[in-house]
């Protein structure tokens, strides 16, 4: 990898031992079954260094961080701590080594107070008066990072607003007992913080670096990376694709580094003329939120960083479609198979036909012959790999379960089909089959509204709405759809 040992000249703090990396990993891999979350990553971190980690959804940033923090075990690769090789690594060992982590979804116990939560991470906090000592440990740190925060340390975290919870979690990571603090990993720490608190945190990261505490900052807000990091590491598809000193780096250069994905195959989209009247119009919440129009036979994409309001809009549209007077029948394909998609104890046939029961009813009862015919023909059409349509759905692989959910929507009378990032964790072969099917169905006049977190997938769409901060902020049509522009719009780049 591009390994530049010279520290940047931006920080005047003394850098003792700066030649020995605090953490150094080589060729770290992590696989979940067939999915490679990390495909051979080299990463190192020196004492007092601030490293920014950027990448699009699913680039492997969080997995790398979990591997470093010991909460996920690496599948293979070397791990050195202070120059010494480490075998198995765990959260407890990481704590001992002075490595702390602020997780994206908060890891506070909301049934406890801030002081009690401090106790959870500090084993030496015990015995008589531990509560007072815990307060004296986290209180001053909170005061230092977020002056005037006004948080009551004896209140249950559940009673605190989300921003204050985030502050408590951040301050807790910076507290120390007799175990010295060496490194703090911050995963999207500013997502719930206001502007002022964000500035205070960034200033504190620099202060901590001056004291020799290394930080890894993972964030989608590139300005924060450019403001505090010495070095920036860019990840794409579970690999580090670039590593740059931050000094002199611009945000458009960063976005370009993230977009170094090969251009996918030629587009078949773009031929549907926008002359036809839309079959559905869904107005945004305000002027900055675009109205979404869906025409017959069109494939609409929802893009942007995960969690910026795409799923909410998709659901709102689905409900709006059902509420209209001469509503077009709609169907929703859930991405979270386990909790929203499959009926775990039912067979493939039952799962597939549940959306079409009205059409299968003969005199008030479900005609099992008609149901079996429908299920059989669609599971053949989607090439569901199963011994029979009576097989329990949970005995199928994830990709085949997803095919059954697609078949449920396609076998129905739905004219608009809403796809909620359905291809997450599905193998490439299945994806290609389903893409072909979606395009074929669109040509037959069905419309699709497709939320996807995968950039290449969006090239199947004729029109894309890029979401940012809860709103459909940018619309891209036809040939304007490319990964660079989607990234620019997702990160709020200047030249869009």
């Amino acid at each position: 990898m591009m390994n530049n040992p010279t520290p940047p000249g931006t920080d005047a703090a003394p850098r003792a031992d700066s030649d020995i990396a605090f953490i150094e990993v080589r060729d770290v891999r992590k696989s979940y079954d067939a999915v490679h979350a990390l495909g051979g990553v080299d990463f190192h971190l020196k004492p007092g260094e601030v490293v920014g980690l950027v990448g699009h959804n699913g680039a492997g940033k969080s997995t790398l961080m979990n591997v470093l923090a010991g909460t996920v075990e690496r599948s293979s690769g070397d791990f050195n701590l202070g120059g010494h090789p480490i075998g198995p690594w765990s959260a407890a060992l990481a704590q001992q080594a002075g490595l702390r982590c602020i997780f994206q979804e908060l890891s506070l116990c909301t049934n406890l107070t801030a002081a009690e939560n401090t106790r959870i991470v500090h084993r030496p906090l015990r015995g008589i008066g531990w509560r007072r000592r815990a307060r004296h440990m986290i209180g001053p740190v909170l005061d230092e990072i977020f002056p005037g925060h006004g948080i009551d340390l004896d209140r249950k975290v559940a009673d605190l607003p989300i921003g204050e919870r985030q502050m408590v979690e951040i301050a807790r990571a910076f507290t120390q007992t007799d175990i010295g603090l060496r490194c703090v990993i911050l995963d999207e720490p500013t997502s719930a913080l206001g502007h002022e608190a964000t500035e205070q945190l960034l200033a504190h990261i620099r202060r901590a670096a001056g004291r020799g505490i290394a930080c890894i900052l993972i964030t989608h807000r590139l300005n924060e990376i450019l403001a505090v990091c010495d070095r920036t590491v860019v990840m794409v598809d579970g690999k580090v694709v670039a590593e740059r000193q931050t000094a002199g780096l611009s945000r458009s250069a960063l976005v370009e580094l993230m977009g170094s994905i090969e251009r996918p195959r030629e587009r078949t989209a773009g031929k549907i003329a926008s002359v036809a009247a839309p079959v559905m119009r869904h107005a945004g919440r305000d002027a900055a939120d675009l109205t979404i129009e869906v025409r017959k036979g069109e494939i609409i994409g929802f893009a942007g960083l995960d969690g910026h309001g795409q799923r909410e809009r998709l659901r709102a549209m689905f409900h709006a479609a059902r509420g209209q007077r001469q509503a077009l029948p709609g169907a929703y394909v859930a991405g979270d198979r386990g909790s929203e998609g499959v009926f775990a104890l039912w067979s493939i046939a039952d799962n597939l036909t549940i959306r079409s029961l009205n059409a299968l009813t003969r005199g008030g009862m479900i005609s099992s012959a008609a149901a079996r015919k429908l299920a059989g023909s669609w599971s053949d059409k989607l090439k569901v790999k199963a011994p029979s349509i009576d097989t329990p759905i949970l005995s199928l692989s994830g990709g085949n379960q997803q095919k059954v959910l697609f078949a449920r929507a396609l076998a129905s009378d739905a004219q608009i089909i809403f796809l909620d990032d359905p291809m997450r964790g599905v193998d490439v072969g299945t994806k290609q089959e389903v893409y072909r099917l979606i395009r074929a169905e669109a040509e037959r006049g069905r419309s699709f509204v497709w939320y996807s977190t995968e950039l290449e997938e969006l090239t199947n769409c004729e029109r894309i709405y890029v979401f940012r901060e809860g709103r459909a902020a940018t619309s891209l049509v036809g040939d304007a759809i490319d990964t660079g522009r989607i990234l620019q719009a997702s990160f709020g780049g200047e030249n869009v």
Binding site: A94, S107, L108, C109, N111, L112, D152
Partner: protein
Amino acid sequence: MSDAAARVPARFSSQARPALLNVLQVGLPAIALLVMLAIIFSIRPAAMSYFGVHLLFKLSVPLVFAALAQMMVIMLGDIDLSNGAFVGLITCVTALYLSDAPAFAVLCYLVLVAAYAGFGLLIHSRQLPSIIVTLGMSFIWLGMAVILLPAPGGSAPAWLAAFMSWQPPLMPLSIWLALLAALAGHLVISRSSYGAVLRGAGGNPRAVERAGWSVIGIRVAVYAAAGVLACLAGLTLTGLTTSGDANVAPAYTLLGVGAVILGGGSFTGGVVSPVGTVIGALTLSLAGSLLSFLQVPPTWQIGAQGVILFLVLAGRVLLSERTR
């Protein structure tokens, strides 16, 4: 820290509301308890004496321990449906062996507590629902108890029966034991540094695991503690009834759950109050006596007890909505 003084009033006022909520949550079953006592004393003033209170609360001692055992499990977000059957098994072991072969009896207790911990391990490592596993356990305990003692019998050791009928100074034994149990529970669960970790493990096990604690160890320890408390319930119950009976305590399972919830606990895990649980257990055990004093026919008493439980729980839900 220069603005610390300025922040004191703000801290005080923001602290007052949850504190009030806490007081009300523990306070409601306490108020219910006092109302019931007031009714009983007004009907039968003679009950307002050392001996009267002794009789009223005599049978609450085992329920207090059984409810605390249930509280440990509910603290982790689980539920223990085997609690009552286990107490029955302990009465059988105690009545059969404790007076003649004390060493063997103690060995039995240890093995049974280890089995309890083992089921905790099973629930955690296989990610099984506790309601299923403990339902199965309840039949195992009941079956073992019936094998040991097909019909009620045996006898409690004299010292145990003597202890349970001991009349200590100032207050009846049942009140002393309830106070001690509530105090010990409060210190260990609500105040100690390990109690914070235990409650944390019930509220957000992933966070506790990420902080380097072994959640599996916590679960095993908590189930073992629940087993120990259920053993205490069985021992005190044998001291009261002076015999063993496999079917003596099935009601303890759900009365224990009722006491925990009445005392401010929550099924979501992590939110329990030992003091509230003890008060809840006292309240539930008094409800039966109250109905006798009100001359409710015995055939109606179980249903009426349910109505009392329902009223107090509904009151608690309404109160916590009001104060939120």
